[in-house]
Symmetry: C2
Subunit: 478 residues, 2 copies
């Protein structure tokens, strides 16, 4: 096989910049919010939009129907279809599975957006819009769907659609900083917990009843206050024993990474981070567990003053998992600790600690690039409860191809990072295909995925497209 | 003055029972919810309805316009008019000021009501409906209005409308149990606090950032956990020094009260109350302060799982005040304690403890009874920030008249109670008129004011009307 003409491809992509932006604008304009059932038709529209574009590229597409989604109100609505695409079918070639997602987080102007979230708006070289960086930025196609049903859909196709996958690439995370690209070889997992404290049958007037009863809210804030020390250490006995020990080689990697500790502190608007050094902060994000308290259901949460004693309150927190923490073992440790705290508390209220009570919706999409050197499979959509961490070998052929692509486009060696967040489908792919998975992020760390004023830089969009193209070409050579 | 014919009056009231119930049904059908701006026209309608009834009784009415209400969204709407009524104007007679309120708490079927909340529904001798017991139950008139502006309206009329008030009667609280009537000579006051902890400029993804920063939510739940011991003791240093000492006479009063400790525990659905004995529980409600944590603004509060790190969270709690606690002093003690806790915590987040940040809306109404023995003044509406406790002498002529009325209707001596809740306008009346105030409750303690399935018993409605009539007649004799 002859060496591909990288320069010609890069210059073709450069020429297509306005087209790339207008495609992204079309995609952003479809408010495919998976958390809002009333937006479900928009997700279906998004899927159809992607399918059309894939078929124009010559892909053969299938829409898998994963069934119904159970809503918390007790009703059900159909899950959006899962789009599975194939481009090329030469059995002599390797198969690359490309994967991202097209559903987005909710967004509205009132949340603090400076522009309309579902109108792609360019300003100072940045493209603002919900989904611009998470995850609608790819060249040709992307597709969104709710959450549930992907794993089943994939398992059912283990020996067909997935049988000849040689590599998987997922582009759904971010650089460490704003200038240097990276490849990602690890993800933290997650266990989600709710702690319910129930007392009176209904809310009570704090004037009439206050002082006579054990109030569920006081019990709950105390329990939640006993999970972390004031310097952010997780206070679950035994949990630290399950964290893989740090090796010297690994420690050196953190020292070399392009990461500005002070800039990071400024970015999150604090005068003091939990950790004192760059290396410790990187390790806290990448290779150690963390615990966050997210909120309380059932208590007064509005503005102003209300004097009710809530009768039943439910605290929510989650723990990010790292190797070698197993979700089931961690669940047990946490529930044991919660029950011990409760015994200490001595309250007559009813206590119910639950691990992973609900689905945490994740989402996925096919991304596609029209390289003829590889047979490419495309598709999307998943759901997950808790999930374990993921750790890959950053020295295999998949990562080598990614690194060469980055070198070609950016002229530098990438950092090798691990991501603090969780993309559980990564593990599903690895397990079902038995082939290596790589995360190849395109966006910068200030893109504000999941938050207000999400954006992607025009340069990231264009260079990212070149990188994905070069990666496929490099992989074909491997 | 000849002895009034109590029997004839009681039997006239008995005959009018269907009329009483139909009046109450008309009043309940007007959804005069003061917390919902869109219901404001319903409050005006309620005021007009009462005014019409008062004028039919011969009262001279004035509608005072207290100005505008500032809504949290930044807009304003007009406060409802305050109705001031006079019935009789013989300067040789004493003047009784009768006071209650007509605005109600929000209510909707979905909250767990078994009947339509704004349709009075009779079942097993109980009249269910929002406002049935709080506070639309009086015979002839009642009026509702939002909150703000009453105090100013009253102050401006200190030397006119209020100049010759000899006694005040407010019927806006409840019996201790379900069978024995009481007169109430004390109320707890309230101080309301918010504690804001602010960190990042916007919400963060707990996967990407978790483990590196001091999370505001962890700081806040810890601060809130340090306000009460696990057995419900307030942990604000110095606060207990401001509580008036218990006297032996007072202790004996609690021992004599008609109150079933086990029944109370069952009523609030607990196997263990904070206090072990009837007397201690009564004192905890009536003569000791209490602290309740109401909720958190800014954190995740919905159903399901969300993995965000909230950037700014605001805890809400209040303390019920008793003699001799002065709100200003208590505010200072609490804010000092919060700041000390914060110094201990050592977090770089921004901490802002505020006392009494917002108006707590209260509400009032005129109630009227057409006795000719007294000149009666009628009216309603107030607003308050925090308010101190109130304590009256239960042995003066106002209480004696109330006790004789109860004896006539129920055949028993009333209990003399203090109420755990706050009705700050009580103090306003006492201060502006210089005359004694008495609380004369009509409803039973299971009437569920402010909660789902609020009701008043038919017997309480009828006997309460008789009691109010007898009270006015007894007061005229005093």
């Amino acid at each position: 096989m002859s060496e591909p003409n990288f320069d010609a491809i890069f210059s073709a992509i450069e020429t297509k910049k306005p087209h790339l932006i207008s495609l992204l604008a079309e995609a952003v304009a479809i408010p495919s919010v998976s958390a809002e059932p009333e937006r479900r038709p928009d997700i279906v529209r998004m899927v159809e939009w992607v399918k059309k574009h894939l078929e124009q590229l010559g892909a053969t597409c299938e829409l898998a129907q994963p069934g119904d989604q159970q809503l918390s109100a007790g009703s059900t609505i159909p899950l959006p279809p899962i789009l599975l695409g194939k481009l090329g079918c030469d059995p002599k070639k390797k198969t690359l599975l490309v994967y991202a997602h097209l559903d987005v987080q909710p967004a509205s102007r009132e949340d603090g957006w400076h522009t309309e979230p579902f109108t792609l708006t360019e300003k100072d070289g940045k493209l603002f819009g919900r989904g611009s960086t998470d995850d609608k930025f790819c060249l040709e196609g992307m597709e969104e769907s709710g959450s549930e049903g992907l794993e089943e859909t994939l398992k059912a196709r283990k020996d067909s659609f997935l049988s000849d996958v040689s590599f998987t690439c997922i582009s759904d995370n971010y650089w460490l900083g704003t200038t240097k690209p990276c490849l990602t070889y690890g993800l933290r997992g997650i266990c989600y917990f709710t702690v319910e404290v129930a007392g009176p049958t209904q809310d009570l007037h704090s004037g009439i009843y206050g002082g006579t009863l054990y109030e569920p809210m006081s019990d709950l804030v105390w329990v939640l206050s006993q999970l972390l020390s004031k310097d952010g250490q997780i206070m679950i006995p035994g949990l630290a024993d399950h964290v893989a020990p740090l090796t010297e080689t690994e420690r050196e990697m953190y020292a070399k990474m392009d990461f500005d500790h002070d800039e990071y502190a400024k970015h999150i608007n604090t005068t003091k981070l939990l950790k004192a050094t760059k290396e410790e902060t990187l390790m806290a994000r990448m290779r150690y567990p963390s615990l966050s308290v997210h909120g309380i259901e059932g208590a007064f949460h509005g503005a102003g003053a209300k004097t009710v004693i809530p009768c039943k309150v439910t605290g929510k927190f989650s723990i990010r998992l790292v190797p070698d923490m197993k979700p089931k073992v961690i669940d047990e440790l946490v529930v044991k600790h919660l029950n011990e705290l409760w015994a200490q508390r001595g309250s007559p209220n009813r206590f119910n600690p639950i691990s992973d009570p609900v689905l945490i919706t994740a989402s996925t999409t096919p991304t596609c690039f029209s390289a003829k050197h590889l047979k490419i499979q495309l598709f999307g959509a998943t759901a997950f409860h808790s999930g374990p961490a993921w750790l890959a070998d950053p020295h295999g052929p998949n990562f080598q191809a990614g690194a060469r692509a980055i070198k070609r486009v950016y002229g530098v060696e990438p950092d090798y990072t691990r991501e603090g967040g969780s993309i559980p489908v990564t593990l599903t792919f690895q397990e079902l295909t038995g082939a290596p998975v790589m995360l190849l992020p395109i966006g910068a760390n200030d893109d504000m995925a999941h938050s207000q004023n999400e954006k992607i830089n025009v340069t990231n969009l264009v260079k990212g497209t070149k990188t994905l193209a070069a990666y496929i070409l490099e992989l074909a050579k491997a």
